[in-house]
């Protein structure tokens, strides 16, 4: 098991390392640089050149990368060129907001999807099932930016019930959390339904029913427990989804999370922040996969030997 753990960890470390190179080089090779954003367009040429020199942008890119890695190794995570905050400070603020939004969306997604999936399975081919599955198809099919606009139109503009954007009160959280949760809810509902149906066909269910157990107990205690195993094991992968969608949702709702900051820092060519937060997001996705790999390995010795 230790060898397996070591192999998976080394593999993940390699991915993070390669990602850091790819992120660094793609930012440097993208057109433009921080002078275009942090200096006024009318600033004199001498001042622009001096600023480039100050940032080390005139050095070869590999040299800039080595300096960057050297600083990282010494604990210098970088400082924003835009507002001078350290990346650690930014992570505390924006990361916390992302965590709040992400966890709310995740919780919302499961709180809605699991009961809905159970209902659809138990009432298979009846109207609750058709309604739930119709909703799930809509949830998967509607682009989240469009859903965001529709919700803002109804709940903010017409009904004046919820704020259209901003942070960080509970009522400002509702719309972005719904939009972020929408697709995950739809997918999870379908997954719970199919998993439930599979379990309901098992022999042990027939046996339990034959023993005279009430139906709610058969479903709620025995079937559901087994049906949720694939749902839970895939929840790690949902993190990658959430991070991807958060970039869009946080930007639309001006929710200052890590995704919002990443988009903003790329637009502003705030290299230290864009590099750091890209790497943080990569790290989270890699860690989620690592945990999933490890748990599979623990559960199944065949995977460990592969």
């Amino acid at each position: 098991m230790l060898r397996y753990l070591g192999r998976r960890s080394a593999y993940m470390a390699l991915i993070v390392l390669l990602s850091s190179v790819a992120i660094f080089y793609s930012l440097r090779f993208a057109p433009g640089d921080p002078t275009g954003v942090t200096l006024n367009p009318l600033t004199a040429r001498e001042a622009r050149e001096a600023y480039r020199e100050h940032l080390g942008l005139n050095r070869p890119v590999y040299e800039q990368y080595l300096i960057y890695v050297g600083r990282l190794v010494h604990g210098d995570l970088g400082t924003s060129l835009v507002n001078g905050s350290s990346n650690l400070e930014l992570l505390q603020f924006y990361g916390r907001n992302s965590l709040v939004l992400g966890l709310t969306a995740l919780a919302l997604s499961y709180l809605v999807a699991i009961p809905l999936g159970i209902l659809a399975a138990v009432k298979r081919n009846k109207w609750p099932d058709q309604l739930a599955m119709g909703g799930a198809i809509l949830g998967m099919g509607i682009p989240n930016f469009w859903l965001a606009l529709i919700l803002v139109y109804f709940f903010s503009l017409n009904l004046n019930l919820l704020p259209a954007a901003g942070c960080c009160s509970p009522n400002q959280l509702i719309l972005p959390a719904i939009v972020l949760a929408a697709e995950g809810t739809a997918v999870t509902t379908r997954m719970v339904r199919s998993s439930m149906l599979e379990q309901l066909r098992q022999d042990y269910v027939r046996t339990l029913r034959a023993q005279g157990l009430p139906e709610w107990r058969v479903v709620g205690r025995h079937v559901l427990r087994n049906a949720l195993i694939p749902v839970i094991s895939l929840s790690g992968l949902r993190l990658g989804w959430l991070i991807g969608y958060a970039l869009i949702v946080e930007t639309i709702f001006r929710w200052p999370g890590a995704g919002f900051l990443l988009v903003d820092s790329v637009i502003r060519r705030d290299y230290p922040v864009a590099q750091f937060f890209s790497l943080v997001l990569v790290f989270f996705v890699v860690m989620a996969n690592w945990l999933a790999d490890i748990s599979y390995g623990l559960a199944n010795p065949v995977v460990r030997r592969a």
């Binding site: 433009g32 954003v37 001042a47 507002n83 954007a165 001006r254 919002f260 637009i267």
Partner: protein, 561 residues
């Protein structure tokens, strides 16, 4: 009685320059009947602001102001753009009042010598920076001397370095600026955000971190925080020594506990947020939302004729294969642009065609420019034919085997994209094949300095002529300066020199008129449209007064009901 006189009176009323009583008195003097005055006042009712606030000011509360841009570093000397916070955190030597007259802020009074080569400012006593250092003539001299340094990063330093020989502070209350030649434009320069007075000692101590987490100005509010892309907030400075600005009703500490400016970059969101009370005031709602906002009984919409800005295009003079150095070709391009149609279709009528380089609301505007650049496609085609360009089988103009195809660099932003598409379609009718290249801000400005075929640019500056001189002057050729067209026209340079050496207001106005007519004729840049400016506030906000003569309101008088 000219319609323009009435227009000016209405605008003064809308912008708070005259009270309701003064408005009626002057309107009667102009010969308007009471019923006509009544109708005018009714029409203005949704546009007037609460500058003339009613009731007793209340202390407390935080003003939440929606802002249509993201925030820049709050260092006046080296910043991308000066945002509204500058007007709360910093003071200037002088500022404009609601009628455009210069009034004291840090300078109690000022004089120019008879030969126009020495300007003397008497600095008020008692003002201090947030850090406690007194604001003396010496402290202001440090600011101006820093701007003059080659690497200062000050965006319009050339407006200072060219004419200013030296500065002197013989005592704490006297600042003397020695000029190389008469330079009456000096006041227009020092009033702007980039010349706001910062404590240079603090700035030097913090280096390039200044203006990001620490701000040391002398304005009535102190800095709290800046979350990029989201907000900037400030709080009332309890040690504020008070203001001497004559048109501020409140000479003491501000009424507000604080101000929070919220960046709302998505245009459609701005109106929604002020409608549902998430923000109290707003700059720049989307034009399509303006009629809806005007009907909202909880809101006041203030409409200014322009926001000292303009959309202009530039054709690179070094593209001799496309004949952009030939005045006829530039004029042909200008004749092919139907500015009126653009105003109607893209700006919902909330803009005006520009025939010269500055908007009509500018105090130096001359109507002489209107004889140029009126839409006339057939004249444009004739000029191209005169220059030797003939339509090919595909309709694209051709000369010596070269097709008239070129790229236009624009900033990837919705108005720029729509405007460039309109220009592209209109030039297609002339026989030019334009390829639009849209870049995000970081890339766009670098592209401008890499000598593109052509570009579209949006400028905004409280004294438009000042910034226009930089786009057209051969002394500012790219990449050393922002003359991205690479225009080198002696007549233009002479007109700019006349403006820059004006020794009194009349010479300044004459110089401005000359620049406008020369630019309208020679087209080193091609003016297109100037947009109107909209400000909105909820009716519980009092004393909030967008200024016609500068980019943002001051917050000394603002209070919340």
């Amino acid at each position: 009685m000219g319609a323009s006189t009435i227009d000016k009176l209405v605008e003064s009323y809308v912008t708070g320059g005259v009270s309701r009583r003064d408005f009626m008195r002057r309107a009667l003097a102009l010969g308007l009947s009471m019923s006509a005055i009544g109708e005018l006042l009714a029409a203005c009712s949704n546009q007037t602001q609460s500058g003339q606030s009613t009731g007793t000011p209340k202390r407390g509360g935080t003003l939440r102001e929606g802002y249509d841009l993201d925030f820049s570093r709050m260092d006046p000397i080296n910043t991308t753009w000066y945002d509204p916070g500058f007007f709360a955190l910093y003071d200037a030597l002088v500022i404009n009042d609601t009628n455009g007259a210069y009034v004291p802020q840090l300078a109690e009074k000022w004089t120019f010598s008879a030969d126009g080569k020495t300007a003397t400012f008497n600095i008020r006593k008692g003002a201090q920076f947030h850090s406690g250092r007194p604001v003396t003539a010496g402290a202001i001299k440090e600011v101006f001397d820093t701007i003059a340094q080659p690497n200062s990063g000050s965006p319009l330093a050339t407006l200072w370095v060219g004419p200013v020989a030296s500065t002197e502070a013989p005592d704490d209350n006297t600042l003397v600026i020695h000029l190389k030649h008469p330079y009456y434009d000096l006041l227009n320069v020092v009033k702007t955000g980039y010349w706001r007075v910062v404590n240079i000692q603090t700035r030097q101590k913090l280096g390039d971190q200044y203006g990001k987490q620490v701000i040391d100005g002398s304005g009535p509010f102190t800095f709290v925080d800046w979350v990029p892309g989201d907000h900037v907030s400030v709080k009332r400075w309890e040690n504020y020594s008070g203001s001497i600005v004559p048109f501020f009703q409140n000479k003491g500490k501000p009424y507000l506990d604080g101000i929070k400016w919220i960046a709302i970059l998505e245009a459609s969101q701005r109106a929604i947020q002020i409608e549902n009370g998430q923000i109290d005031t707003l700059r720049g709602p989307a034009y399509q939302d303006v009629p809806r906002l005007m009907k909202n009984s909880n809101l006041n919409v203030i409409q200014l004729k322009s926001d000292w800005s303009g959309y202009v295009a530039g054709l690179n003079f070094t593209r001799t294969n496309l004949d952009f150095h030939d005045k006829r070709v530039r004029q042909a391009v200008s004749y092919a642009i139907d500015r009126t149609a653009i105003v109607k279709s893209l700006f919902f009528g909330y803009a005006e065609p520009m025939y010269g380089p500055v908007p009509t609301a500018d105090k130096y505007y001359t109507k002489q420019v209107e004889q140029f650049n009126q839409f006339n496609l057939s004249k444009g085609k004739q000029l191209m034919a005169d220059a030797g360009w003939k339509p090919g089988s595909d309709g694209i103009l051709t000369k010596n085997g070269v097709k008239h195809q070129f790229s236009m660099v624009i900033q990837a932003e919705s108005v720029n994209q729509q405007l460039s598409s309109a220009v592209q379609a209109q030039l297609k009718a002339l026989g030019m094949d334009v390829k639009i290249e849209a870049y995000d801000r970081g890339t766009y400005f670098n592209k401008l300095f890499s000598q593109p075929d052509s570009f579209l640019f949006f400028y905004q500056w409280p004294v438009p002529i000042d910034v226009v001189t930089l786009f057209i002057n051969s002394a500012a050729l790219s990449p050393n300066g922002p003359n991205w067209s690479m225009a080198n026209i002696p007549e233009v340079d002479q007109a700019v020199a006349a403006w820059q050496t004006a020794s009194n207001e009349k010479e300044l106005a004459d110089g401005a008129a000359k620049i406008q007519t020369v630019v309208a004729d020679q087209l080193p840049i091609i003016p297109i449209v100037a947009r109107q400016s909209f400000w909105v506030h909820r009716k519980n906000v009092h004393g909030w007064q967008p200024l016609k003569w500068d980019l943002y309101p001051y917050y000394n008088d603002v209070w919340l009901d």
